[in-house]
Amino acid sequence: MSKPTIRTAIADDLPFILKIERRAAAAFADIGYPDIATGAEMPVALFEAGLQEGLLWVASDAADRPVAYVLAAIIDGIFYLEDISVDPDHQRKGLGDALVAQIIDHARFLYCSALVLSTLEAAPWSNALYRKHGFLKADMDRLPSAIADRFAAETELGLPAEGRIVMVKRL
């Protein structure tokens, strides 16, 4: 399999990214979270901030159209994976793997102390992918306050508090 093309996103990618987000979210219905599948979309402002700060990457197809993306933010020196989605027609091609590798490289480039994300423990794709890259389940009672605040904000946006975990990779 050829190496996926990963590049920083540009403004023209946004409509594709928003479409991928919706299409990929549908998979949550299959693991018992129908509200995520049909719930509120990710705020566009988060993607726009990622564009501006160079913290939004896409994997693109042969025509350079995005088919997967990863969005990150820097919170108190911690590199935070906001969202990662692969279009259902392009899954199982190593795109998620390549995008996670990209953000690990970028977090190191930015001298971040750790990489953090939240995910649903029941999501089969996340445990395998994130553990492969060295992420470990965090103790929810010992999260840095900025990460605990972000977790709470995501819960307010509609993500479930139950069954959602935080994973950490120290750099």
Partner: protein, 104 residues
Amino acid sequence: MAKGYWIARVDVKDKDLYQQYATAIAGPLTKYGAKFLTRGGAYEAVEGVSRSRNVTIEFPSYENALACYRSDEYQAAISLRQSAADSELVILEGYDGPQHGDPA
């Protein structure tokens, strides 16, 4: 047309400020078509004095490389880098001429 390049050598003193700088310049770098050729990879200082980070960024042209540096967005971020790191930056024009080994 020959491409343009930034070559920066950096010793970071304040990681938080450097993160702010790196995210602040992403906008102008994208706008002027920048591509990182080297950034945080391995290096070996075989002669002279080196710094811990050596970054090479390619632009579509020398003019773009200069325009990016002179843009309001980049100029607004320079003080962050100067506070975050000891560094040098040179902007240079690429070479489009013949190379050793080219067919005669």
